[in-house]
């Protein structure tokens, strides 16, 4: 009896280990063309505190690999994405990129998601002279490696350019706001933008009576809400991530206060659009599944596929937005670079990208400026009928849509 129990237990423990090993093993995603596959290595934060966004990137990457392989792959060879989990930890990302390059001998690499893992991976890429395309680094001046390329059009100085996009939109309102409260997370990319916002607002005569920073992971917004209410400015600018905007707006409503107009930097898009507090709030974006973006090549199909996969993966917000589009653009750039330079040599791919224009879901993209950035294209969207609509600048607004003043 004891022996049988022992064997049973051992078998289960063994089963558990095999399961664990399977979880830890690289998820290999492969498809059509012919010949030896081109291995592209990368990590995403599939577990840990960045996991909620990383899963979006993973779905986008899977769609793109199928898409690329349904055409010509890389130089006629199929593409294989060797994806590892960096657990949201920069040091893990660093050693995994090291492993991908030296042990797995991948041909190319793809950047991870979020600033800290990107910086960690960039150090490794630089050491081995690999081209690295990243989709989501909101602080361009940190990208100091000359073979690193941004997939998302922040422009070289978003802390100067984007606040002015917001200020332009504010100035277009029937009664332009004269004062602005800035509340921001100390998360680096949000804090970076908030500081810029304060400077640019004051330059243009918009007063900032209250500027608050809170720690990432702040639990209670009651006291912050009380201060925002007391300052009672014309405009509320929130440097939020995740659900912080929802929490702040809820805390404000508990004080029976609704900000006249509010802007939110990087919130989780679904919950804010659906929240009763979210109606008509503004938010940053680069693209929405609407015109003129849907007319860009391949975009319709990608948007549809994304919706299908994201729904299947049980994501609460299954609509493609800037997060997913960033990963799409990153693969489009890598595809263009490899097939354009007609080689897997990193130096030549980098040289080709710097000289050419790549058409991605974000439109024609160049890498000839400061920090390998091209023109900025960070836009403003607004919740209208529980949907995000691009409302500013005007050339990106779909027919029939306009910025609704509050």
């Amino acid at each position: 009896m004891n022996d049988r129990m022992g064997a049973w237990r051992r078998r289960h423990v063994l089963g558990g280990f095999i399961g664990l090993a399977a979880l830890g093993a690289p998820a290999i995603l492969r498809a059509a063309p012919s010949g030896q596959p081109v291995k592209v290595g990368g990590t995403l934060s599939l577990t840990g505190f960045l996991a909620q966004t990383a899963v979006i990137h993973k779905i986008a990457a899977e769609i793109m690999i199928e898409d690329i392989n349904s055409r010509n792959g890389f130089l006629g060879r199929p593409v294989e994405y060797v994806l590892l989990d960096d657990q949201s930890k920069p040091d893990v990302a660093r050693s995994l990129y090291e492993k991908l390059i030296t042990v797995d001998k991948v041909d190319l690499i793809m950047g991870p998601y979020a600033t800290a893992p990107i910086l960690a991976a960039m150090g490794v890429a630089q050491r081995y002279g690999k081209v690295m395309i990243q989709s989501s680094m909101g602080i361009p001046n940190l990208q100091t490696y000359d073979m690193a390329f941004p997939a998302t059009p922040f422009g070289p100085e978003p802390d100067k350019t984007y606040p002015n996009v917001i200020l332009d939109a504010m100035a277009s309102l029937p009664t332009p706001p004269k004062s602005m409260v800035i509340v921001t997370s100390k998360f680096p990319s949000a804090q970076f933008m908030a500081k810029g916002m304060r400077i640019e607002a004051e330059k243009r005569g918009v007063k900032v009576p209250l500027y608050l920073e809170y720690e990432a992971g702040n639990r209670d917004f009651g006291a912050i809400a009380a201060r925002v209410k007391e300052a009672n400015a014309d405009f509320l600018w929130v440097g939020s991530l995740g659900l912080e905007s929802n929490q702040l707006l809820e805390a404000l409503r508990k004080l029976d206060y609704t900000p006249k107009t509010s802007f939110h930097l990087y919130p989780a898009p679904g919950p804010l659009a659906l929240s009763p507090d979210g109606n008509l709030v503004w938010c940053s974006t680069f693209l929405e599944p609407d015109e003129p973006f849907m007319s860009r090549p391949g975009m319709k199909k990608i948007a549809e596929l994304y919706k299908e996969r994201a729904t299947k993966a049980n994501l609460p917000y299954a609509i493609i937005d800037a997060q997913a589009a960033g990963m799409v653009a990153a693969w489009q750039i890598l595809e263009a670079g490899v097939n354009g330079a007609k080689t897997l040599e990193d130096k030549q791919i980098a040289a080709w990208l710097k000289k050419n224009v790549v058409t991605t879901v974000y439109g024609p993209t160049k890498f000839d400026g400061l920090y390998n950035h091209g023109e900025p294209a960070q836009l403003i969207r607004q919740v209208q009928d529980k949907q995000w609509k691009v409302v500013w600048p005007k050339q990106f607004v779909a027919p029939g849509v306009k910025l609704i003043p509050t």
């Binding site: 909620q52 920073e213 992971g217 009651g222 006291a223 508990k254 004080l255």
Partner: protein, 283 residues
């Protein structure tokens, strides 16, 4: 200098938010103080209950109090099952920290597998309701939480002081061998207490679902502050846990209102260190 209204409002928000710290600290304090088991999985159990409340509420439209009525007994049994493992492997204080940490990680992974890593929010119309009292607003949900936490803490305090079982538990916590020699069946009582701890986690979880944002990694967000609360409130003292929770909540909130919101996370540990240095008689 902030206005009196701002200070008053911050104090109200803080005390009420501290009720959640106290409620989470309650079960932790009991098992740490009376069983010498540091149960890190308490937070994971609370979040499991929160996710279940969310799931029942959003998918099956079950009201949160009915959800709690279903979840609490189940959690009570989970607490007992967990203690069975502790008992079987003769887990001590330090080992309990490691084992329950693993439990918590496993639960975190399980929650992420089922509910994904994405943020979840259980929107109810209670979440933004508040009562106006003069210039102040009192959020209804947090008020309800504090009342529930108050009843639980007070009831548990009385139970530990007035009943045979409660006194026996305290005696056993001080010296289990001697208590056993006087006929106290420590093991049976420990099962009861573990069940209670898990049930309290479930009640906290229901309120977490209504008040906070759900993400698997949030399990760890409460750890530091609740530990500080448990220690300030004295191990095994339910009323102390609740009062300490409110003290920390109020301190955080006042710090956010008067100084920088970014200081809030430092506050709980500063209060803890200050109190440990002061070393008052009641600690």
């Amino acid at each position: 200098m902030p206005s009196a209204t701002l200070l008053g409002q911050a104090l109200i928000s803080g005390v009420l938010a501290g009720g959640m710290y106290g409620l989470l600290a309650l079960g932790l304090s009991l098992s740490w103080g009376l069983l010498r088991l540091v149960n890190l999985s308490h937070f994971a159990l609370a979040f499991l209950a929160a996710y279940l409340t969310y799931e029942l509420g959003t998918t099956y439209h079950v009201a949160p109090w009915w959800a709690a009525a279903m979840i609490v007994p189940v959690m009570f049994l989970i607490g007992i099952a967990q203690h069975w493992l502790f008992d079987k492997f003769k887990v001590n204080e330090l080992a309990s920290l490691l084992i329950t940490f693993s439990f918590a990680v496993i639960l975190e992974v399980a929650i992420q597998l089922y509910w994904t890593a994405d943020y979840r929010r259980f929107e109810t119309h209670y979440s933004t309701m508040s009562i106006k009292a003069g210039p102040f607003y009192i959020p209804v949900l947090e008020l309800a939480l504090c009342m529930v936490a108050g009843v639980l803490a007070w009831g548990t305090w009385l139970w530990l002081r007035k009943t045979y079982v409660g006194k026996a538990l305290r005696a056993a916590a001080e010296d289990a061998d001697i208590a056993a020699a006087y006929g106290v069946d420590h093991k049976k009582l420990a099962y009861l207490l573990s069940g209670m701890g898990a049930a309290y986690a479930a009640i906290a979880g229901t309120f977490i679902a209504l008040i906070a944002t759900l993400a698997p990694t949030q399990i760890w967000a409460w750890l530091g502050v609740v530990f500080a609360v448990v220690i300030i409130g004295r191990l095994g003292n339910p009323l102390g846990a609740l009062l300490a929770g409110m003290l920390i909540g109020a301190s955080e909130s006042i710090a956010m209102a008067v100084f920088e919101p970014a200081w809030a996370p430092v506050v709980s540990f500063s209060v803890l260190i200050a109190i440990l240095l002061w070393d008052p008689e009641w600690l």
